[in-house]
Amino acid sequence: MQDLSLLFHGFAVVLSPFNIGLMLLGIVLGVIIGVLPGLGAANGIAILLPLTFTMPPTSAIIMLSCIYWGALFGGAIASILFNIPGEPWSVATTFDGYPLAQKGRAGEALTASFTSSFVGAFVAVVMITFLAPIIARFALQFGPPEYFAVYLLTFCSFVGMGKGSPAKILVSMMIGFALSTVGIDVVTGQLRLTFGFTSLMKGFDFLIAVIGLFGIGEILLSMEEGLAFHGTSAKINPKVVLETWKKLPRYWMTFVRSTIIGCWMGITPGGATPASFMSYGAAKKFSKDGDRFGTGVLEGVVAPETAAHAAGTSALLPMITLGIPGSPTAAVLLGGLLIWGLQPGPLLFAEKPDFVWGLIASMYLGNVVGLIVVLSLVPLFAGILRIPFSIIAPVIVVICGIGAYTVNNAMQDIWFMLGFGVIGYVFKKLNYPLAPLVLALVLGNNAENAFRQAMLMSQGSLSILWSNGLVGGITTLALIMLFWPLISKLIHAVRPARPDKLAEQQPVD
């Protein structure tokens, strides 16, 4: 009950005119970011983060998280109307969304997608409201070994649940760790891996990496596709919205299933993209008219959108309770917390209740506001996609450059950004996942420190990772995840699996 009163206090914090204004601004910016290919939630937030340094942290996190909600909504607009996913998690939405738009039912598809996004996010927020304080209280007992075990689990899950070659996931993750060690070693004060360059002393800022990898890399990828977008137009009027809402309750089973998949994939670092694909696949399998999936059925829009939004939202649960982000975007928000001088993790709940509950309250309000904004302004946002790419592309490059500069006011960061852009492009082409790299870069220092402290406690013996039931359980689970590709191969050797057609179209995220 105490948590509920804290939540209401959070609403009181959020409901100031200044914060509401920021919320609206965030949502609108977020939708624009989500609609534009080449400008995703992670790098959009990374670019805007430096502008929030002077704001109070609560207002800043409200604006940035609203950009995230906006981007989650916005991805669907480009997928349904233009058949180009504005974000990786809306790839699955194109399967049924675009055929619906071609049939002239774009309004229905958009309404269904926004509404199911809203439902998915709402359930996830309710879950966060009730689970977060419990997890935070539980995590207060964690020491360095437990933290290292949780980090281990996070990273091993990438290998176990990721799509694509495990070796590539490992490579990408370890490059992130290696880059995070560049600079001054905080424990001994020694310079590491700077190769004598003083400019590397501060190390690589992960915001620069995010802007380069996702921003510049995406622009280069989009250039391959050419410069023109062709799309259908959309009209949404209240009548279409009401009629679609009447149809949606029929798919309650899809909603339930997709929300569960989404929440699960969000808390574990699976992320929104695999969640949307899993949920689409599950809906196709269990639905009565599963055969008609792909030709334009509403259910095929509902399933991936619900899951993507639920996953995107619940990715914030491990971030605020344990300080471990479930997605690259959550990682950028975590970086923001550190810059504002807030240490994410269980102590945050005790020390900064205003901030935590303000954030949770803003998730409720942000999604309500977001739903209203996208439903009423769809034509405007679709219009953005009609601006030719030869205008948008240079402007995005300029914005990325400004964003990279403002992080540390350092010119060299703009060069690093370009370097990361090339890496991002090559990695995307060769199916190396980028999310593990970013997460490793963000968490590298913390993971290393937790590991060293744990090792100091045990005088260098790895057995501390099995010293009690809790830490032992987490470590064992992590190892199972790490070797899951091998284990599943063994299982398949005994019992051959059916080939998964959907998997081929899923981007490695």
Partner: protein
């Protein structure tokens, strides 16, 4: 391409490995030395990238030379990448605002085949907007370049 990239990554891993070896990766009296963590990280990079190299050479990874990028696509990508590098050099010399205006105008003119009038006008308008947004409104000073050509504005 697959094998080349993985080989480059392997080399980077090896350099890191050597560096952390020099830092000391063992156990000292006060605990693990600085190179301890990076040593094992770069060891995994080497092993994993080596496995990608071998996989690619045996043709198991499935993506071959032809499918990496087509000639026409590569041209498009380089047409963005090289001007972007020149643009960043421009930022270094004449500052973000002027370089951005020139970059946007030229990009529109050359890639989008817009008229000079339209291109230059839009490039300048966007940069003036940015100038007011950052310097005046948010009070975040951006890089003015080696030759401070916007110095006369007083910001």
């Amino acid at each position: 391409m697959e094998a080349i990239v993985a080989a480059v990554i392997f080399l980077c891993g090896a350099v890191f490995l050597y560096q952390s070896y020099k830092l000391g990766f063992r156990w000292a009296i006060e605990g693990p030395q600085s190179g301890f963590f990076p040593f094992y990280v770069s060891l995994i990079i080497c092993v994993a990238s080596a496995s990608v190299v071998f996989g690619a050479l045996r043709g198991h990874m499935g993506s071959d030379e032809e499918s990496f990028v087509e000639r026409g696509q590569l041209k498009q990508v380089l047409a963005v990448l090289i001007p972007a590098a020149v643009y960043i050099l421009g930022i270094q010399l004449i500052g973000i605002y002027v370089a951005s205006a020139i970059y946007i105008s030229l990009f529109m003119r050359l890639m989008g085949k817009y008229s000079w009038m339209k291109s230059v006008a839009l490039g300048v308008i966007i940069c003036v907007l940015f100038f007011f947004m950052f310097e005046v409104w948010f009070q975040v000073p951006l890089y003015k370049g080696y030759w401070d050509v916007t110095g006369w504005t007083g910001y």
